[in-house]
């Protein structure tokens, strides 16, 4: 790019002109911001204002633009100049909307605006235009792992959208668990009777689809590369290995059954006791006729035990609800009632959970005479020619029992997501230390791998709660911690076939989006479309490996010389590596230790006697910053002494920013990031957790500086905290005032 030419634009629309002294802002941008060109405009986002900026870029050769108007989250379509570097000074949501329009407040409000102009000028000068790397790989073929109902649906959906698909199934035929069902829970009106499992139809569609290439009896021997350029080695039964180039992956490897032998008190392992899968097999054998037990006796009475080894509070069995099993028992009870209404069918449940349209299905079963009873089963034992079921009837509040020819246990789903990476790396470490048992364990664990990823961070996707691959139930369900690899179906969370179909469709769409983005050098969720990517100045790198270890998405490998090797298309642009690097050699073109550092330095720090403290707020751009913007939109006021800088994630916060800020006379620093831990809300999964961990180390530094701990404050903010956030800011500012000014001013 040609020589740098900077320009600042001061907007006077949206009452900015009347609330603020624009002339003074122009002066600041010129004198202190040292911008080559400074203009004000009555209405900057209007066609006229935008044309003015475009003209400056085209004919004046402007390369760096500081827009001092509204929040960076507003008017993004108007202020869209992809060829230049751009910063935004947030004078509207960040200043005039959160300050009272009074004479008393005018001075501090103006000071706030002036600082934001200084910061926008300083930031943009430290930025470069992200160029985007289009050479990261443009393969547009989707790999689907698993040929069950989820996998087949994902394959068909991707094909319908015009993409080629490679489908790998480890069994000798397609269909997975659903193919083993006699019938499935109804998926359409009137939701009253079990319906055909639908597999034959899907298989026929797959076979007729020229876009879909199927490998049966096949597993993934190795998956290397990155989004847009994955190379997979597929081991087929014959022992040979096929290679395929794919751009993204959907892992739809389904679930396994919880071993009912772990439930001896419920009869697991006894004769005449089956799990739901076992009953499906009996029903398939009967094919609409009388259902017979393994010993050939016709079943005349059956008891279903819900939540067998599920929703367990003792910690011994599954803690979660598999979601489908109530509807499944309803369906199976109907198998009996439909073949002979005189068969006694009792469903013992504590809460009957019938998601989707299951309520209609439940009613239909009641109509058919299935008895539903609220009760907790304590014991199932052999008795006479069948079983005796002891339980507590929760409605009649008594211990009681009943007899049945057959007992069906509603056991849960166990994910098939491969080995747990944390356990694996621990075992690997022990094995490297010479532990023989650990060596065996490593081999065992690795044999369970599904993807066999050739990633430094392990062979499969990191798991979330209970070993499932669900990343965020509400906000970004399909995202995993491996970019362009999506989990679909019960491997993500327990679900029934209806949900699996929907899930697979969603995952296929996300995978397509990821392939397209990878081809353009753009980021995937949540910074979808971002062209910037991190690079390391390797001359300064000490090979400490923190970036490689901390990257939540496994984007960083090592090159032959053991330097970090960034796989851009795997990168989600969270900046966690940048925050982690102790020697600060990692940066993005438009986001770096300097872009933020320059803003921190640009703020005018009044002296000790001014009674005007300064509080730096580093706010997560995903939740906290929008919440602050929305507080502004609602005109909730907050303190004029704070200066807010959005960050990509708390994980990107380098401790140097905090120590520099405190050293240069800020009176307090507030960090705003998403909830971390089990119930995390962080859009980068681990970012806020890692960031917070790093911050905890800063307290030692504070001690060394003889500063109070309270000068650094970590606040958990959700996007909904719009009303409470201003109060928390004010409380903190008040505390700072009470504590007194920082002794570091003017040093």
């Amino acid at each position: 790019m040609a020589e740098m030419k900077t320009a600042a634009y001061i907007c006077k629309g949206c009452e900015l002109g009347t609330r603020l002294d624009a002339a003074s802002l122009v002066k600041i941008a010129t004198k202190e911001g040292k911008m080559n060109l400074v203009r004000e405009h009555d209405f900057l986002c209007s066609a006229d204002g935008v044309a003015m900026i475009k003209n400056d870029i085209a004919s004046e050769g402007v390369t760096h633009v500081a827009i001092c108007a509204c929040s960076r989250r507003a008017k993004t379509e108007a202020f869209n100049f992809p060829t230049v570097a751009m910063s935004r000074g947030n004078l509207r949501e960040g200043v005039i909307w959160i300050r009272p329009d009074t004479d008393a407040a005018r001075e501090t409000t103006q000071e706030m605006a002036e600082d934001y102009v200084r910061m926008a000028c300083a930031e943009v000068k430290a930025m470069k235009v992200p160029e985007g790397n289009q050479n990261t790989g443009g393969v547009k073929t989707l790999l689907v792992v698993g040929g069950g109902i989820s996998g087949m649906t994902a394959a068909l959906e991707a094909s319908k959208a015009g993409y080629k698909v490679v489908l790998v199934e480890k069994a000798g035929e397609l269909g997975g668990m659903t193919a083993k069902l006699y019938k499935r829970i109804p998926t359409r009106e009137p939701f009253k009777a079990p319906e055909d499992n639908g597999i034959a139809d899907l298989v026929a569609q797959i076979e007729a689809d020229a876009n879909i290439k199927v490998y049966l009896n096949a597993t993934l021997a190795k998956t290397s590369g990155a989004p847009g350029r994955f190379k997979v080695e597929i081991a087929v039964e014959s022992g040979s290995v096929a290679t395929e180039d794919v751009g993204a992956i959907v892992q739809a490897t389904g679930f396994g059954l919880y071993d009912m032998n772990k439930l001896p008190h419920l009869g697991g392992g006894q004769a005449n006791v089956v799990d739901q899968a076992g009953l499906e097999a009996l029903a398939r054998a009967a094919n609409g006729g009388p259902i017979k037990r393994a010993d050939g006796k016709e079943v005349k009475s059956v008891v279903f035990v819900q939540c067998a080894g599920q929703r367990d509070t003792t910690g011994e069995h599954l803690q979660y609800c598999s979601g489908h099993c109530c509807n499944t028992s309803i369906k199976q009870a109907m198998y009996f009632k439909d073949s002979n209404p005189d068969i006694d069918t009792v469903v013992l449940f504590t809460d009957l959970r019938t998601p989707g349209n299951g309520e209609d299905f439940y009613r239909s079963a009641q109509n058919k005479g299935v008895i539903f009873s609220k009760g907790v089963v304590s014991n199932v034992s052999a008795s006479g020619g069948g079983c005796k079921v002891k339980f507590k009837d929760l409605i009649l509040n008594e211990e009681t029992e009943t007899e049945a020819d057959l007992v069906v246990l509603a056991t849960g789903m166990v994910p098939t997501s491969g080995p747990d990476l944390d356990a694996l790396s621990e075992a690997t470490r022990a094995a490297e230390g010479g532990d023989e048992a650990a060596k065996e364990q490593v081999i065992q664990m690795k044999s369970k791998s599904v993807l066999n990823l050739d990633y430094r961070q392990g062979p499969d996707m990191p798991q979330f709660k209970h070993g499932f691959n669900d990343s965020h139930f509400i906000c970004f369900p399909y995202e995993t911690r491996r970019t362009a690899i999506y989990a679909a179906g019960p491997v993500r969370r327990p679900m029934d076939t209806v949900q699996a179909i929907e899930d697979a469709t969603g995952a296929a769409m996300k995978a397509i989006q990821a392939m397209e983005n990878a081809g353009l050098g753009k980021a995937a969720h949540p910074r979808a479309g971002d062209l910037s990517f991190p690079t390391a100045r390797l001359e300064g790198c000490t090979q400490c490996k923190r970036c490689t270890v901390e990257c939540p998405f496994g984007a960083i490998d090592e090159d032959e010389k053991r330097f970090p090797l960034f796989n851009e298309s795997r990168c989600r642009r969270c900046g966690t590596c940048m925050g982690a690097c102790p020697v600060r050699v990692i940066s993005f073109e438009n986001y770096s230790v300097n872009t933020v550092g320059a803003q921190i330095k640009a703020v005018d720090i009044p002296d000790e006697f001014s009674e005007k403290p300064r509080v730096l707020i580093l706010a997560c751009e995903n939740d906290a910053y929008p919440a602050l913007d929305m507080a502004g939109m609602n005109r909730y006021e907050y303190d004029a002494f704070v200066r807010v800088i959005p960050v990509r994630c708390l994980g990107s916060v380098n401790t140097i920013w905090i120590t520099d800020a405190l050293n240069s006379g800020y009176d307090g620093v507030m960090l705003m990031g998403c909830k971390h831990g089990e119930e995390y809300q962080c859009h980068f999964v681990k970012g806020s957790e890692l960031g917070r961990y790093r911050m905890s180390k800063v307290y030692d530094t504070l001690k060394g500086m003889n500063l109070e701990e309270e000068r650094l404050m970590d606040l958990e903010v959700a996007i909904t905290d719009i009303e409470t956030l201003p109060q928390k800011i004010n409380d903190y500012a008040a505390k700072i005032v009470e504590m007194g000014m920082s002794p570091f001013k003017g040093l």
Partner: protein
């Protein structure tokens, strides 16, 4: 009917539920209850004590095969037909009617509690109305007042004396009814024939001998 009383029921099997479905008015709704408890929580009399089982529990007992406890329960007799439960039941179970159906069935089996006031009122009302073709108010009042004997009957009558006089004055009560005068039904024979036919149809529908 006595063989019905001897019936054995196995726990959590369908036999008693089926019996109720076949024999008790609206009994086929019992299986549709989802045990939410809204009816029990809505019932104004259930909280006053004296109720053996609230409706929800009664329905569960039927499903659990507790034949004796259900048929001898006093609950269906305590129901005052306020229809609170009926309008609130999320499953649209016509609870009030089921309660009446159960009461009637228990009565039919001779399992109704003796000298139960609700039963006595219904019985007296029914006998009176079917006999005269319309309600003979004086005779109905008499038989209710004197149900516990002459002394208490006279006492009650004296207590209500002024109201009775008021009713007579307002032409709401005709004392002649006591001696076969007053309002009469136009076609008593016709009514009796109608009732006989209804009984026959009902019996046929339920597959049993006309009562």
């Amino acid at each position: 009917m006595s063989d019905m009383n001897q019936q054995m029921t196995a726990r959590y099997k369908n036999n008693f539920l089926k019996e109720i479905e076949e024999q008790a008015e609206m009994g086929d709704w019992v299986k549709m209850c989802m045990q939410c408890g809204v009816c029990s929580g809505s019932c104004p009399t259930n909280f006053h004590g004296g109720w053996d089982h609230p409706p929800q529990e009664l329905f569960m007992m039927i499903r659990a095969g507790k034949r004796d406890e259900v048929l001898s329960s006093n609950s269906m007799w305590q129901c005052v037909s306020c229809y609170n439960c009926y309008v609130r039941c999320p499953r649209k179970v016509p609870i009030t009617h089921v309660m009446h159906g159960l009461a009637e069935y228990a009565y039919r089996l001779g399992r109704a509690p003796k000298m139960q006031p609700t039963l006595h009122l219904s019985q007296t009302f029914w006998n009176n109305a079917t006999k005269y073709g319309r309600v003979n108010e004086v005779k109905l009042t008499q038989s209710l007042y004197f149900k516990d004997g002459i002394g208490s009957g006279i006492k009650k009558a004296l207590e209500m004396q002024s109201m009775a006089l008021g009713l007579v004055k307002a032409k709401r009560l005709n004392p002649m009814e006591a001696i076969g005068g007053g309002h009469k039904c136009k076609d008593l024979k016709g009514i009796h024939a109608m009732l006989a036919k209804a009984r026959e149809l009902e019996a046929k529908r339920k597959g049993r001998q006309p009562a």
